[in-house]
């Protein structure tokens, strides 16, 4: 499943210059996203199958590897059904608007030292800004379908994204404090100790908020099958449905790539070539997302909002100031000993803050 990326041939100042760099990386990124999405779908379906004591798709190709390809061809040849009452233009544009920003995220993700489309000095801020636009596509889909389930699903999505945006960006600020730069490449270069060890609480917050932001399973209320049929894409079929499917997995890959870059040391690693490390780490993070999906039941909407506003956000603020103090005390490089301290802080904070919550049968009150 791994794309053959001739990364060694791409220093930042590639011979032939600007235009070749643009052409090469544009094609590479699109191919990368499509192939990674196929890999992710395969991992998700096979992994979930194994975790649920069944086989998963195993007939198309060796180990069912060609299943995503078969699905793509099938869905391409399906009839395109648009409801009569739908807002046709909005309905048609929604998947396009949802897909484009997800692709744009990958423009600043480094595959190797300096091997990225554009090394923006505001890299991670750009990611935060661009990734929010995908929500607009989802809301357009819900609105344009003229279906009550779709509209409710889209509304829920907006509410969830708005709520989980803050712990997400605050967790990023923690990383930026330690790295001292917003550029994705510099953040990777700063990670002599992977930030997952120096920022365990930040990682936990980012992972949870990231899962909620892209509506992965414990938080997938916008397409809760038992309540809303299929949520915002109830009225979609054929290729436009496939695009939403693609967006969902491309977002998961994007979040995995950002987690890899911010917390797991990006492309850094021994023996293997850097781009391969990067892809392996993305798949490891994605596998954890699949694992949480199969393990945890779906939360209720009030629990979803309470988790964001009453649990993740205060912890993110505390994490921010603890990190700031540590950076001020050790301005050059954080010492190894801090790893144990930070993990202890994380455990204490999470346990103590959880005591405020009465989870379980009743409504959640704080």
């Amino acid at each position: 499943m791994m794309p053959n990326l001739p990364m060694q041939a791409v220093p930042p100042d590639w011979p032939g210059g600007y235009w070749w760099h643009w052409l090469f990386f544009s094609i590479l990124l699109i191919a990368f996203v499509v192939i990674m999405v196929m890999g992710a779908i395969w991992i998700e379906r096979r992994g979930m199958g194994r975790m649920q004591s069944r086989l998963g798709p195993n007939r198309t190709g060796p180990f069912g590897l060609l299943q995503p390809v078969a699905d793509a061809i099938k869905v391409l040849l399906k009839e395109n059904i648009v409801p009569d009452s739908a807002d046709k233009l909005v309905h048609w544009l929604a998947p396009v608007i949802a897909f484009a920003p997800v692709m744009m995220i990958f423009a600043v993700v480094p595959f190797q030292n300096g091997a990225l489309l554009a090394d923006l000095n505001i890299g991670i801020l750009y990611v935060v800004a661009v990734s929010s636009v995908a929500t607009l596509g989802v809301f357009m889909a819900g609105w344009g379908s003229s279906n009550k389930y779709s509209l409710l699903g889209a509304m829920r999505n907006v509410a969830a994204v708005v709520s989980y945006e803050m712990p997400l960006v605050l967790a990023i600020v923690g990383v930026v404090l330690v790295a001292g730069s917003l550029s994705m490449n510099d953040i990777v270069l700063a990670q002599d100790i992977p930030f997952i060890l120096l920022q365990p609480l930040g990682f936990l917050l980012f992972f949870t908020a990231g899962c909620a932001e892209i509506n992965r399973s414990p938080f997938d209320l916008m397409e809760a099958d038992s309540e809303l049929v299929a949520g915002f894409h109830t009225e979609y079929s054929g290729m436009k449905f496939a695009m939403f499917y693609l967006v969902e997995y491309a977002e998961a890959i994007a979040i995995s790539a950002i987690i890899t870059t911010l917390f797991l040391g990006g492309w850094r690693g021994p023996v293997l070539p850097p781009w391969l490390w990067f892809i392996v780490k993305i798949f490891i993070v994605f596998f954890f997302m699949v694992w949480t999906r199969t393990t945890l039941p779906r939360v209720r909407i009030d629990q979803l909002m309470a988790l964001a506003w009453k649990f993740l956000f205060p912890l993110a603020l505390i994490n921010l100031f603890i990190t700031a103090i540590q950076v001020l005390v050790w301005p050059d490089a954080l010492p190894w000993g801090l790893i144990i301290v930070n993990i202890a802080i994380m455990v204490i904070l999470v346990v103590v803050w959880s005591k405020f919550f009465k989870l379980g049968w009743g409504r959640l009150e704080v």
Partner: protein
Amino acid sequence: MLANYGLIGLFFIIVALFSLSMPIIPIVLRYLKIVPSHPGPVKNSTFECGVETIGKTWVQFNFHYYFYALVFLAIDVLVVFLYPWAVQLRQLGLFSFFAVLVLVFIVVIGYVYAWKKKVLEWK
């Protein structure tokens, strides 16, 4: 540095063309008689669980995220101020730390007030 933003803009053109082309492919295939197209009044009706949809969808209904959106707005603006501070913390030193502490404290007062007023409850 500006050249990098040019790359982003050019990449956006490619991405826009790519994502626009994807829904267009089935339209082309439909004219080639590969993708079927047999619309009907029942098939094109809005999906509902067994009955026909009652009333319009685009009506006003009460959905409780307006308060969240207001609190979100205040906090999101705060976070935008935190980013440049986070980059330069080592140069700015302890004074900036306390300055940001005061800034965050002011916003947190509003946040605690919203919590106590039960604005953060999803009803």
